[in-house]
């Protein structure tokens, strides 16, 4: 597993620092965001009234709401599937593309190689997502802001379950394909397709962003438990399918 962490270190660190930078760009800009919205409100902008609604600037002036909506409900949330895809796509496909899978499989059983790659990938994914989920709390503590962290566990649950799904989807593609480009394209394609199809009312369940961004948490104050379970079950099925494909893959 040490080798897997070593292989992932660069990607994980780059992703983390990009996300940290993004957070540090968002967090200090609360006053600017609130002022901009107030100006729009004052100008009676029709689009603003239609899509955002009156009083939103007032809500955004609340630090906790600002953090939840701009971090979990927007920037971080939107990038969760991308983080999962970037961490998962080369796990198997890079070894196959570089011809090093032989090196591994001549030394370890397929089960151990699969478990080692999958487990280390999940450890890095969960560590990154947990750390990024904690940023509002940590920043508020350091900056002396009053942050009500009651919602953090719910948003973190959404982020972890959504991340797990997209990690599993990409891992499956990573096993299936023999080069590194196809797993990325297939995963991004699936993400785009499910998101677009999810815009149709009858297929709205396909849009995982609705869940990952925590829309239900904002609306009803709770995580959608059946959806969480569904994502976990689908992830487990994908992981089993990935293992089955790997077990029978010709090297």
């Amino acid at each position: 597993m040490k080798k897997e962490f070593y292989d992932m270190r660069f990607r994980a660190l780059v992703l983390f620092f990009i996300m940290l930078t993004l957070f540090l760009l968002i967090a200090p800009l609360q006053n600017y965001a609130v002022e901009s919205l107030k100006n729009l409100e004052r100008s009676s902008n029709q689009l603003y009234e239609k899509y955002i609604g009156p009083g939103y600037s007032q809500m955004l002036a609340n630090w906790s709401f600002y953090m939840y909506s701009q971090w979990f409900g927007k920037n971080f949330g939107q990038l969760v599937p991308i983080i999962a895809i970037v961490l998962a796509f080369p796990l198997f496909s890079r070894e196959t593309e570089n011809g090093t899978m032989e090196f591994l499989l001549a030394r370890r059983s397929r089960f151990r190689v699969f478990m080692s790659k999958t487990a280390s990938g999940f450890i890095v994914l969960f560590s990154s997502l947990l750390l990024l989920s904690m940023l509002p709390t940590l920043y508020s503590f350091i900056a002396g802001k009053d942050f009500i962290g009651d919602g953090v566990p719910m948003f973190t649950t959404s982020v972890l379950a959504g991340g797990t799904l997209w990690f599993s989807v990409t891992l499956f593609f990573s096993v299936l394909f023999n080069d590194q480009v196809k797993p990325i394209l297939a995963s991004i394609g699936t993400l785009a397709l499910t998101t677009v199809l999810g815009l149709l009312k009858s297929l709205s369940f396909l849009n995982t962003y609705h869940y990952i961004l925590g829309i239900d948490i904002f609306n009803y104050g709770e995580v959608d438990i059946p959806y969480t379970l569904a994502l976990i079950v689908i992830s487990i099925i994908l992981l089993f399918s990935g293992y089955f494909a790997f077990k029978n893959k010709e090297i």
Binding site: K2, K3, Y6, N98, G99, T100, E102, F103, L104, L105, A106, R107, R108, N248, E250, I251
Partner: protein, 260 residues
């Protein structure tokens, strides 16, 4: 002992290994010979489980050290890092021995794998294989990409391994190497074993026969002089006037498949 029985492997309609059976006894050096596409690498990969066989039985117990045909290693690693990871991944790998062999091969431990030449990659891979305590050593083209000096270094190590009683199954295109190292040989073509046996017996089972220039006999025409043609034929009691045939010519004759 490695036992391979009725091994079959095909890719769609293309039969890569066709009902192959052979045994490698403990302590034996067994060479699989054949032209490109004969099915040697596929056979080795089926034994290792890297390729899924369609039929047949492979029996072997214990750890196997493997040197693949394509010596691909992690390009972003440094040599020392690779050896460390290999030590963690490989059962019975002696890291100190691997490092000492790499130094012996004059490879810098701090060098990045991507900067190594083909020959150096082969030597590094060989260092990992030779440092592993295994019951069977499978090597696919072990001297691939090596210059003559490096090749003799590698051959010496294979010879030492063989002399220490290890079982070795390997493939090679270089017949002189096979002649020096192998105890038993199997000659493959189109997924089948055409000839197999102890090296000396196999070589002695063919002979070179001189015939009058232009006279046709069943066999493989090896060379012609001004007055006579020399054919390679399967040894027969009734043939008296013959010469021993060089191994390379016997191999060529078997592959061409026109000896009697």
């Amino acid at each position: 002992m490695l036992r391979v029985k009725n091994l079959k492997k095909s890719y769609g309609h293309n039969i890569a290994v066709d009902n192959l059976s052979f045994e490698v006894k403990d302590g034996e050096v067994f060479a699989l010979l054949g032209p490109n596409g004969a099915g040697k690498t596929t056979t080795l990969k089926c034994i290792l489980g890297l390729r899924k066989k369609n039929a047949g039985i492979v029996n072997f117990d214990g750890p196997i050290a493997y040197l693949p045909e394509e010596k691909n290693l992690y390009p972003s690693y440094k040599v020392e890092k690779l050896i460390t990871f290999a030590g963690e991944l490989t059962e019975g790998l002696n890291v100190e021995k691997a490092i000492s062999l790499v130094k012996e091969f004059d490879i810098d431990l701090r060098e990045k794998i991507s900067n190594l030449s083909r020959g150096m990659l082969t030597l590094l891979y060989l260092a990992l294989v030779f440092s592993q305590e295994a019951n069977l050593y499978i090597m696919d083209e072990p001297t691939w990409g090596l210059d003559p000096i490096m090749r003799s270094q590698a051959l010496k190590l294979i010879k030492d391994l063989a002399q220490s009683g290890k079982t070795i199954l390997y493939t090679s295109h270089i017949l002189s190497e096979v002649e020096k190292l192998a105890d038993s040989i199997a000659i493959m073509k189109k997924g089948k074993i055409l000839e197999m046996g102890q090296k000396d017996e196999l070589i002695n089972s063919y002979m070179a026969v001189k015939v009058e220039k232009g006279k046709k006999i069943k066999g493989y025409l090896w060379k012609s002089t001004e007055t006579e043609d020399i054919y390679i034929v399967k040894r027969k009691e009734e043939l008296r006037d013959y010469e021993p045939a060089p191994f390379g010519v016997v191999f060529e004759a078997v592959i061409k498949g026109d000896v009697q």
